[in-house]
């Protein structure tokens, strides 16, 4: 049956979250809120070297401590298996080596044991008391990633090298982004409960189905023996997609001791052993004609990865199709470093990639003396030139125009430092970005009930973005009932298999599955009509009946009498009827159309050279991502993405000491993130152009695209304000102090005559204590 996309009462209207009241009143149970009788607490022990061998482990003292029930290590925890990791299975797992698998240490904090005790404090004390001996090797920690690394070409058309050589205007620069840690406020946690041979994991995951599959394989049990529950998640940002080592430790400890076990990572452990966005170094080369047309684009990059795990941050994913150019190439490589496994973090690839490409585009605009928005307009492609296929929908030109108008871009004067307001120097910058659109395979069931309510169930989860609410909207809209009449059951692997919350794909995946489930439920309602006491319905042929907005009526007489589904069920003595819907994924299909979403980001910074203070004051973000199902939750998500983008531009970066490979700022005070006081005025514009190639409502994802482009726009604005082009994120005060207050290059201070580099600290000869005034 056709989906009604007009006259909506719920879809496309701003809706408050249906799970809002339980969250703000503290009734929502997050993973670590689950406690069970007889439950023990587990605290992992991390390696205190970043590379080498674990020689021996002394657990005697720890085992003898009060309340301690066990200290598990490689020798006594039992078999933990490697999981298969075929994309065809959609098993996502970024640290494939099972914890405690061998005595090789490849990063600081890698688990070497886990202490289990009656209380969290006892387990913590026991974990501290475990003594390890190592044969340590030198960590591999330098972040000059391009140097000496051989790259492998992934995309090319034309001859980018030759075209660049012949270009009158060129940009050739290197851009760097640091390791970033997700820092969801809810820490990773697992509560494992075994009953007989069956395991229930209350876990902090972005995919209950994926987690069930991985953990089943890890523990060597059958799928029906494993249940994963994530009713609420305090954000994930990609960091809770993989089943990290601690999940195995908790599950194995609970199995071995036959008691429930709770394990909550510390913030530090989350930095060390639960994923991060890898560091990148990217070289972008652009060649342009005097007519402001790109004639060559090269985007080459290297990202860090763990010593024994492969993770590619696809920085150049959008580069082949974002702009029109006959000559293009990209290449990449991995740089193995002694840090934990990298994983997806909001907008993987697109976010650092856009920073590099869009910074280079801004540099090109300055060289060409052309407005940065005009440069992008001039190079807008008519189709996806990488595959030679049309875009399913692309409204980047409209996005740039809408953003420019809202921002007041026409008032921009391009000269560095030329714009002032209230004694502050202003900088205005723009950047664009793209992210893939598509669907995961999904199933869902919808129950229509005699009491006039409906229940929708799906093995997906709400990671804080509003999936509960979207499901209530989709079902309420089609059935013509209020959202509070729709019960939403998600966050449980026992429910019909649903999509992983990753890649901004949940909503677009759910739309067709729910639609088909409602189609089937409607068909069953039609079938049930034969049992109705009123002959008007029982005598009608099924093909003459239809269900519109949850009401059964005659096709021939759409405004005539109709029965609500509740009336049909009550009159036929049925409590509920169920429709099931299945929809396929698009991940592995060969596309006939290029499906993406796009964003245009405009940023304003204020600059006070007299105190070297740069702040982001204003962001206008325009999102071209199909139809927005819930503009309120959608806006919320984009605002959060911009806040994260501000953090990436100015604050965030996990710092390591190369001598030990330790993350130095592994806490929320030292890992600097955007606070409310740093949050700019954020204006979100949804173009709301449906893309019916993705699903019948034209909805695409918005989780990643809101963050992509933000850092680039801010870096470009910072250049406009300060005249300093910062190509290494985050943009810190030291980079902005390179010029004096009137914009001239600073003279070198005497101590700068022997510069030391950040990535390779030199042996230090200690300074004498200066004679200080007193």
């Amino acid at each position: 049956m056709a989906v009604d996309t007009g006259n909506n009462t719920l879809i496309g209207k701003p809706q408050s979250r249906i799970d809002g009241p339980v969250k703000v009143s503290g009734q929502a149970r997050y993973t670590s809120d689950y406690s069970f009788s007889g439950m023990l607490y587990a605290v992992p022990v991390g390696a205190t070297i970043a590379r080498g061998k674990l020689l021996s482990l002394d657990t005697k003292a720890a085992e003898a401590m009060p309340g301690v029930r066990a200290v598990f290590h490689g020798g006594n925890i039992g078999k933990l298996y490697r999981a298969s990791f075929l994309m065809a299975d959609l098993v996502l797992l970024d640290e494939k080596r099972p914890p405690l698998a061998d005595n090789d240490i490849n990063y600081f904090g890698q688990y070497i044991a886990v202490a289990v005790a009656e209380t969290f404090e006892q387990a913590t004390a026991a974990a501290d008391a475990v003594e390890a001996r190592y044969a340590a090797e030198r960590p591999v920690m330098n972040f000059d990633l391009l140097r000496g690394t051989e790259l492998k070409q992934s995309d090319h058309r034309g001859d980018a090298v030759k075209a660049l050589a012949g270009s009158p205007v060129k940009v050739d620069e290197v851009y760097s982004t640091p390791v970033q840690t997700h820092n969801a406020i809810e820490l990773h946690a697992t509560v494992a409960v075994w009953e007989g041979g069956n395991c229930t994991l209350y876990d902090t995951v972005q995919g209950v189905g994926n987690h069930q599959l991985v953990m089943t394989q890890r523990l060597g049990i059958e799928r029906e023996q494993m249940r994963v529950i994530t009713r609420y998640l305090g954000s994930g940002f990609g960091g809770k997609i993989s089943a990290w080592g601690h999940c195995c430790l908790a599950a194995a400890a609970a199995r071995n001791l036959d008691r429930p076990v709770k394990l909550v990572l510390s913030r530090r452990q989350a930095f060390e052993s639960a994923g991060h966005r890898p560091a990148t170094q990217q070289r972008v080369q652009l060649g342009a004609s005097a007519e402001v047309k790109l004639v060559s684009l090269q985007h080459d990059y290297v990202n860090t990865t763990a010593m024994v795990e492969d993770f590619t941050e696809y920085c150049a994913e959008a580069s082949p199709f974002l702009y029109s150019t006959a000559n293009m190439s990209s290449s990449s490589a991995l740089a193995r470093r002694t840090i934990g496994a990298a994983t997806s973090m909001r907008g993987p690839g697109a976010v650092p990639g856009s920073f590099a490409l869009e910074s280079a585009m801004d540099e090109l605009a300055y060289q060409l003396r052309v407005d940065p928005v005009a440069l992008r307009h001039r190079n807008e492609p008519a189709l996806d030139e990488s595959m030679g296929i049309p875009f399913s929908s692309r409204h980047l030109t409209e996005a740039l125009n809408a953003g420019a108008e809202r921002f007041g871009w026409s008032q921009r004067t391009p000269e560095v430092g030329s714009m002032k307001r209230d004694g502050l120097t202003l900088g205005w910058g723009v950047a664009v970005a793209a992210w893939g659109a598509g669907r995961f395979a999904s199933s869902a069931t919808v129950d229509l009930r005699a009491d006039g309510t409906a229940r929708v169930s799906c093995g997906t989860q709400d990671i804080g973005t509003g999936t509960y609410t979207v499901l209530a909207q989709l079902v309420g809209e089609r059935l013509g009932i209020a959202m509070d009449r729709v019960e939403v059951a998600i966050g449980d692997s026992n429910l019909p298999a649903g999509p992983l919350s990753g890649g901004s794909l949940v909503t677009s995946s759910l739309v067709p599955a729910i639609s088909r489930a409602l189609d089937e439920a409607s068909q069953r309602l039609v079938t049930a009509a034969s049992l109705l006491p009123d002959s008007r319905w029982s005598k009608a042929r099924p093909e003459d009946l239809e269900v519109v907005k949850g009401r059964l009526g005659l096709k021939a007489n759409p405004s005539g009498p109709a029965l609500s589904f509740s009336e049909v069920l009550q009159q036929t003595g049925v409590r509920s009827l169920t429709g099931t819907g299945l929809s396929d994924g698009t991940i592995l299909e060969k596309p006939k159309l290029s499906k993406h979403c796009f964003s245009a980001q405009f940023a304003e910074v204020t600059w006070q050279p007299e105190i070297a203070r740069l702040r982001v004051s204003r962001v206008v973000t325009v999102i071209d991502s199909g139809r927005i199902i819930n503009p309120k939750a959608g806006r919320n998500q984009i605002v959060g993405a911009v806040v994260m983008g501000v953090g990436m531009a100015l604050f965030e970066g996990t710092e390591y000491d190369p001598r030990k490979g330790v993350a130095l700022n592994s806490n929320l005070a030292d890992y600097v993130m955007t606070t409310h006081a740093d949050t700019p005025d954020i204006d979100v514009i949804f173009l709301d152009c449906p893309d019916f190639e993705v699903n019948e409502l034209g909805a695409k994802g918005i989780g990643e695209i809101g963050m992509a482009g933000v850092a680039g726009a801010i870096a470009n604005a910072a250049y406009h304000a300060t005249g300093i082009r910062v190509r290494e994120l985050p943009i810190r005060i030291e980079a902005l102090l390179k010029r004096n207050q009137t914009g001239r290059e600073l003279k070198k201070e005497p101590w700068q005559t022997h510069p030391t580099t950040k990535t390779k600290p030199q042996p230090h000869r200690a300074n004498d204590s200066p004679d200080a005034p007193s």
Binding site: R613, R659, D670, V672, I733, L737, P761, H764, N767, P770
Partner: protein
Amino acid sequence: MRAFTFKQVARQEEALLLSDAHAGASPGEVRFIAGGTTLVDLMKLNVERPSVVIDINRLPLDKIETTPDGGVRIGALVRNGDCAHHPLLQSRYPALSQALLSGASAQLRNMATTGGNLLQRTRCTYFRDTVWTCNKRVPGSGCSAIGGANRMLAILGASEHCIATNPSDMNVALTALEATVHLQGKEGERSVAIDEFFHRPGTTPHIENVLRPGELITAVSLPAPAPGSRSLYLKLRDRATYEFALASAAVVLTAASGRITHVRLALGGVGTVPWRAHEAEAALLGKGPSPEIFRRAAEAVLQHARPQSENGFKVELARRCITHALTTAVAGGGEQYGS
């Protein structure tokens, strides 16, 4: 965290007796706890490992009172939040209120106390993480910060044994305001000028101040504000709030007839102790305020800067901080925090 004995006391004598009972113990074995914002944090990190913790929160040291000489006496247990929002302090010692409000978060300020803030320990990563050597934590073990990630650390007053920064904002304001710290020990009371309260690291970075074993901070007093003086606190840092200073300045200044007739300048974020800039004050006193004079004042103190591998930028940042703070003070302005 090491297991410890927790004792609560209601009277000062009790606290002193208890701490004296453990006088023979090694340093750090006995700790007084007030707000706990530093101590509990460091105990969880195994950096502080006391065997006895004496809770002094019930002692009657939570008053702010004016003194006969026109000054004010702030009890050691006055919460940083209460101190920051106290009308008398806000109007007469704005630098103190501004410094307090620029530090930590509202939640931390509601717990942290005046006495505790004086003893706030460094945020140096290498001090806070026991996998590293640190002369402050384990005397003689070596300084990992030298040659390490020292971006946040000191350019003034460091030694080859320690380059850790004093992290407090309050201490910087108290230094410019020429506060006195009042102490009570078993031998009686004594008072120490704040400029003499803190020890530079030298060869004994684990000894951070003049406190004797078992001695308790009871109050901080401020002299009456200099006639016609203004005071302010300017803090420069990576983000707008909830972050330690890269460079900060507390200024107390009186200008009359086009001359600077009284000035006190203290710096934060750059020194191993709250840094009183006496030479800068001397360069300013009696002079007509001008950008050139302010620059010279900054040079007078920053000529002693000895940056590390990552914090050379602090010299230029401190220069701008001092200059801007003085310019603002002369112009009669101040800095709004939290906006």
